[in-house]
């Protein structure tokens, strides 16, 4: 199925939770989904006979630098050989989104990375702690407004 058909199907199934379909060539098309329904939409995409999205290729966090943060989900179906991209946009002051780590195990570490780097809170995640940086690191370094600390554990950080 192509992304447009998937979007139409999801729209009739979930209504307002599936917000918009964007197809700006040459950028890959994507479907914007509500942050509170992304887990249900994902579960449906995985389990529905027509879709069978059995693989989450990638999950990435984004800082759009306009007061919003985003999460991008790249899905692929080995059974059906089709793919689709989902996006969730959340405000920076309350970046909360439902976890999909129960739907695809892959998402577990990817969500921890997005939390670590961008600071997105994945609600329902079983083990949401930093994956790359030190546990007591302050801030999320891939946010556009991140300031590099002068010292960390007594070590000078700037050049």
């Amino acid at each position: 199925m192509n992304p447009k058909e998937i979007f139409d199907h999801l729209k009739t199934k979930f209504g307002d939770a599936v917000i918009e379909f964007k197809d700006d060539k040459p950028v890959d098309s994507y479907i914007i989904v509500s942050p509170v329904k992304i887990d249900e939409v994902s579960c449906y995409l995985r389990d529905c006979e027509d879709f069978q999205f059995d693989s989450l290729s990638c999950l990435s966090g984004v800082d759009y630098a306009d007061g919003n943060l985003g999460i991008t989900y790249n899905l692929f179906s080995f059974a059906k050989r089709h793919k689709v991209n989902l996006k969730v946009i959340v405000p920076k002051d309350s970046p909360k989104v439902k976890t999909v780590s129960e739907v695809w195990q892959t998402a577990n570490w990817h969500e921890r990375e997005a939390y670590d780097m961008i600071g997105i809170i994945f609600e329902g995640h079983k083990d949401l702690r930093r994956i790359l940086l030190e546990d007591d690191w302050e801030g999320h370094p891939l946010r556009k407004d991140f300031q590099v600390p002068e010292f960390f554990h007594g070590m000078r950080v700037p050049y």
Binding site: E134, M155, V157
Partner: protein, 166 residues
């Protein structure tokens, strides 16, 4: 030496070699620099190539050891992140004296390509532990690392028990 001059080297025809304590200890130290089994980034690949048969680090007595308790030398081979820096310091402290450090590659020398935007990169491993020899390159070729080791051997050769160095 006066005694030896007097007898015009009585050991000349025997199998005894005369030397000083300093020279003997330095020779034994520099000939068996056991290295910590420790790689950080792409430099570690070059370090492994240096250890492999083509360049053969072993001919200088450099053998990788899996425990800091058995090491004399750390080759900091790659990018030192802040998270790793505390571990490196700890490993360094676990090595018994005398211990030597070769900083291999631009990253561990000064931060390398991460000098400006590397928020989690230590800009030079010499900020946490004393470095004996810096090997430049990104990454350095095995020849460069071998030269670094020879430089370190030169340093050890000049050491003296009477005065503490490094």
């Amino acid at each position: 030496m006066g005694l030896l001059d007097k007898y015009r080297n009585p050991f000349e025809k025997s199998n005894i070699v005369i030397t000083t304590v300093d020279k003997f200890i330095n020779w034994s130290r520099l000939s068996s620099q056991w290295q910590m089994f420790f790689g950080l980034a792409c430099c570690a690949i070059e370090m492994m190539a240096t250890s492999a048969s083509h360049y053969d680090f072993d001919r200088f007595g450099v053998i990788p050891r899996p425990s800091p308790r058995q090491c004399d030398l750390i080759i900091i081979s790659g990018t030192v992140t802040l998270k790793m820096a505390t571990r490196i310091k700890r490993l360094y402290e676990q090595i018994p004296d005398p211990k030597y450090i070769i900083s291999m590659g631009s990253c561990s020398n000064c931060g390398g390509p991460y000098w400006e935007h590397g928020y989690n990169v230590l800009k030079g491993v010499d900020r946490i532990i004393p470095v004996d020899v810096y090997v430049p390159g990104c990454p350095p070729r095995p020849e460069a690392l071998l030269d670094g080791l020879l430089k370190l051997q030169d340093r050890i050769r000049k050491q003296s028990l009477a005065k503490k160095t490094a």
